[in-house]
């Protein structure tokens, strides 16, 4: 991917972990320009998707299963290669070596988070072991506070991955992502496996995260129209790889 410097994007537009200070008020955080992806047998998976996600945006992404919602979120997080188009972060495509840091700021939260055999505490700390943490330290107290808010006590931290329910695994993944203080969350049915109480707590954690900084935004995929109405301010819908 070639970096296209624009007027709004200074030479080092990707000064991680802090956002650049020089930016226009309307510059989107995350922008997809005509992203096209073909699968096997030339099947169109993403059909020229474009969107802009600005600070404070709460975008709902709806559409039938198989419409390409997950693929779009994954493309936005640069997790999958695409055939044409580009993704811009704060005005420019992230350079290859900056991709891990970019993904830490625009986190894709998978629908079925993978939980390994280690304890919840160990897994919460996992992202802090990567080089992209830039030496920052995991804050166990903060993790515990978030979990308490969601009705989980200290014993939860010592549970092993295999003993977690699907909803608890989603909660763990959500808290793990929030602890990284991302600017954008790409939420792929983040509460689908949770019970009602946990879902409410999760929605609260997410809205607190959003309210804590005006420079944050999310895209939320859900098959629950009421949830999208509660959590989002504008809606995009997808059908057969096309965004509208």
């Amino acid at each position: 991917m070639a970096q296209v410097p624009t007027e709004n994007a200074p030479e080092r537009s990707l000064t991680f972990p802090h956002p650049p200070t020089k930016k226009s008020p309307h510059q989107p955080l995350l922008k997809a320009v005509d992203v096209r992806r073909l699968g096997a047998n030339e099947k169109v998976l993403l059909d020229g998707s474009s969107l802009e996600l600005c600070a404070g945006d709460r975008v709902a992404l709806a559409g039938p299963s198989g419409a390409g919602k997950t693929l779009l979120l994954r493309a936005l997080a640069l997790l999958d290669p695409f055939d044409s188009g580009r993704i811009e972060w704060l005005g420019a495509p992230p350079r290859a070596e900056d991709v891990p840091r970019f993904r830490r700021q625009a986190i894709y939260l998978a629908q079925n988070p993978v939980i390994d055999e280690s304890t919840v505490a160990h897994q919460l700390e996992q992202p802090w072991r990567f080089a992209s943490a830039d030496g920052a330290d995991f804050d166990p107290g903060r993790a515990a506070r978030m979990l308490t808010e969601a009705g989980r006590d200290a014993a939860f931290l010592e549970q092993v991955g295999s003993s977690l329910s699907g909803g608890e695994a989603q909660l763990l993944a959500l808290v793990r992502a929030l602890l990284l203080d991302p600017r954008v969350l790409l939420l792929d049915e983040p509460t689908a496996a949770m019970d009602g109480v946990t879902r409410q707590a999760a929605e609260l954690l997410l809205s607190e995260w959003l309210a804590a900084d005006s420079g944050r935004a999310w895209i939320w995929v859900s098959h629950d129209p009421q949830q999208l109405e509660r959590t989002c301010a504008r809606e995009l819908s997808m059908e057969a790889g096309r965004l509208s």
């Binding site: 997790l79 290669p81 939260l109």
Partner: protein, 269 residues
């Protein structure tokens, strides 16, 4: 030939035929137990005779010719065959796997063989076919196991840990941080056979080359010296080959933008 090889008994073609007739035992077993493998046995037996005879003739010719280009040609054919064998049984493949297999086998086996010829055995000339061809053959034959097992395990690990790798990448792992566990497992697996055989050599098994030298009348201690050298050469060639192929595969399946190109990994049916 000197006195050291005086005890060597030459086999007449008639005596070889007696041994070949033993394949009838296998055939009878197959018929008696309805194993249904007579046809395959017949083909296998014929191939054994034909392939070895052809190799014998070619080697005689190369040995008499004693020219570097003849040795190089034989070495090239051996490398292509070994590269093919290393990759053909791997169940999860990706575009470029043949090239990677060949490159890894070639680099590891050729470099170690050349090192052995130039620095350890030191025949005159250094490429003398009597030494260079069997040495290369042993390097290739063993590193192909490492390459094959390494690729197999890597494919298996990457597809079973697909979602975990993806999850790590989404949380800011570099491609190396995300894949280092499968890569290590693959390299470890590739090194299992050679490590095992180094453990038990001489106790459970007498290696083929040493057996051959003993049959040819070499003094046991002399044969052992050669075998020790060979074991270490093989271990090094296998390690180099395995590490090379696994890292090459890693680079093909993870691009510099830290993306896991999992759709490239295709399971053969």
């Amino acid at each position: 030939m000197n006195a050291a090889t005086a005890s060597y008994l030459e086999l007449s073609y008639g005596r070889v035929a007696i041994a070949a007739a033993l394949v009838l035992v296998n055939a009878l077993l197959s018929v008696a137990l309805s194993l249904g493998i007579e046809r395959r046995l017949l083909i296998a037996a014929t191939r054994t005779v034909v392939q070895l005879l052809m190799v014998g003739l070619i080697l005689e010719w190369v040995f008499t010719l004693d020219r570097w280009y003849a040795v190089a040609a034989v070495a090239l054919v051996m490398m292509l065959a070994a590269g093919r064998a290393a990759v053909s049984n791997v169940s999860r493949r990706y575009p470029g796997i043949w090239f990677d297999g060949l490159l890894a086998m070639g680099l590891s086996s050729w470099s170690i063989t050349i090192l052995a010829l130039a620095a350890i055995v030191r025949p005159e000339p250094w490429f003398q076919p009597q030494y260079s061809i069997p040495l290369l053959g042993m390097m290739l034959g063993n590193s192909l196991n490492g390459v094959s097992l390494g690729l197999e395990r890597l494919g298996e690990e990457l597809s079973s840990k697909r979602q975990q790798i993806d999850g790590y990448l989404a949380l800011g792992a570099s491609r190396w941080e995300a894949a280092s566990e499968p890569v290590r497992a693959a390299i470890r697996t590739g090194l299992v056979p050679i490590t095992n055989s180094m453990m038990v050599v001489g106790i459970v098994s007498l290696p083929g080359m040493m057996t051959g030298q003993l049959l040819a009348g070499t003094a046991p201690v002399e044969a052992v010296k050669y075998q020790v050298m060979i074991m270490f050469l093989i271990a090094t060639a296998t390690a180099l080959g395995t590490v090379t192929v696994v890292l090459l595969a890693f680079r093909r399946l993870f691009n510099t933008s830290h993306q896991f190109l999992r759709q490239r990994l295709i399971k053969r049916n």
